[in-house]
């Protein structure tokens, strides 16, 4: 059975959704992700949905659910790379995903996770240009 790979990057987990999500795949992902968080003691989850072009209310709720589950397991969730069309669809569906944090891409997503966890010793977020 096909699965969505979950990559471990230090304290964070990276999930890249590159196939069209169907409902069973979404449930499988919830299962795998919660298991991984508790197994590795991860502090943050990045879900990259930049190649996701079609969403429905189920996928929207799945994202909200994953964020909720991760929070219970003491990990922050950041959804990154949402396409404009997907964002418009979710808004029109009335799903504003209030508990989910978002970022433009994986890079800013990791910055955001560091900010949230107070890890300021790493560079990136505090690079201020002097212009």
């Amino acid at each position: 059975m096909e699965r969505i790979p979950i990559l471990r990057m230090g304290d964070y987990l990276l999930v890249t959704i590159q196939v069209d999500m169907h409902d069973r795949l979404a449930l499988q992902l919830q299962d795998d992700l919660t298991n991984s968080i508790s197994k590795f003691g991860s502090k943050g989850v990045l879900i990259d949905i930049s190649s996701l072009e079609i969403v429905d209310s189920f996928i929207g709720r799945m994202l909200a659910n994953i964020a909720g589950m991760s929070r219970v397991l003491d990990a922050e969730t950041v959804v990154v790379g949402m396409q404009p069309a997907v964002a418009i669809t979710l808004v029109e569906l009335g799903m504003s995903l209030p508990g989910v944090r978002t970022a433009l891409n994986v890079e800013t997503g990791i910055d955001l996770l560091r900010e949230l966890r107070g890890d300021f010793h790493m560079d990136g977020a505090d690079a201020v240009d002097e212009a």
């Binding site: 959804v79 990154v80 790379g81 949402m82 396409q83 404009p84 997907v86 964002a87 418009i88 979710l90 808004v91 029109e92 504003s96 995903l97 978002t102 970022a103 433009l104 891409n105 800013t108 997503g109 977020a125 505090d126 201020v128 240009d129």
Partner: protein, 290 residues
């Protein structure tokens, strides 16, 4: 109908000149149309009317009637473009009544019953045609309005890059559903294209904010947030702030600023930048914020 046909054939020139005189007395706009042009139009109309009456089909159906209604639509539309008012356009046909009635009266002197019938059918016919002309006039006006709306829609939703990672969207005019769609799409596309984390929506040019406009605004803000960009609403005028509170619109989750400058300062702050005064003496307005 047949009598009208005979009459038109016999007295066409007379009717035409009387009609023109009638028009000159009622609503003649010589500033918008020359006499020659008007005469041509009137003559062409009488010719088509005579042809249609000869055709003799009832209920204004058939090719001859189609030709006349097309001709009326054409001249009414052109009058709308030339700047005539709708009543002036309708008067073109309605002022034909008087000369027609006068001639009908002459024709059926000894037949009061038939005279009345003739007058009734003539007035019915001319009224129908005048209504058609008003319809055509309004349609051409509406087309103009629709075209202007489309043009305004294209013109009025620019997305401006203020700084690296800071976008501004000055909204001019009322936000309805169709425009929100355009605004939302262009903003989200620009967020992706420029990789911006902050977008400032400036509503200085929005005349009124009601619940619907606020809802549309919130939709745009939510969509931008879903993509990972933060929105700041700026240009909230005092009256609009009052309306928002009176209507009970909840903007608690939205950062709002009075001016675009304030919003820009906040946006720079959020991205870890600040504007510094390079002069020794603190003359710049930015000095206050240091």
């Amino acid at each position: 109908m047949l009598k009208m046909n005979d009459m038109l054939q016999q007295h066409e020139d007379q009717i035409l000149s009387e009609w023109l005189r009638e028009m000159a007395a009622a609503t003649r706009r010589s500033d918008l149309m020359t006499d020659a042009e008007l005469t041509t139009q009137a003559r062409e109309f009488l010719r088509l009317l005579a042809a249609a009456l000869r055709d003799g089909k009832a209920n204004m159906s058939g090719n001859a009637w189609k030709a006349i209604s097309e001709y009326i639509s054409e001249i009414s539309a052109s009058r709308a473009k030339q700047g005539f008012s709708s009543s002036e356009t309708a008067m073109f046909l309605l002022s034909l009544k008087k000369p027609m009635f006068a001639h009908l009266k002459e024709h059926a002197k000894n037949d009061p019953e038939g005279q009345f019938e003739q007058i009734w059918s003539t007035t019915e016919l001319l009224d129908k045609l005048a209504l058609q002309s008003t319809d055509a006039f309004l349609t051409s006006r509406e087309q103009l309005i629709i075209r202007q709306q489309e043009e305004m829609m294209e013109l009025s939703t620019p997305v401006v890059k203020l700084w690296d990672g800071v976008l501004a969207l000055p909204v001019i005019g009322t936000l309805d559903s169709a425009r929100t769609q355009v605004v939302m799409e262009s903003l989200l596309q620009a967020i992706v294209a420029t990789n911006s984390r902050v977008a400032i929506i400036d509503i200085t040019g929005v005349p009124t904010v009601d619940t619907l406009v606020a809802q549309h605004l919130l939709k745009t803000i939510t969509a931008a947030r879903l993509m990972g960009a933060e929105c700041i609403v700026s240009g909230v005028r005092p009256q609009i702030a009052q309306t928002i509170v009176h209507l009970g619109i909840n903007l608690a989750d939205v950062t709002t600023k009075a001016t675009l400058a304030d919003a820009f300062a906040l946006a720079l702050d959020r991205s870890g930048r600040k504007v510094v005064n390079t002069r020794k003496t603190p003359t710049s307005v930015f000095a206050k914020e240091e």
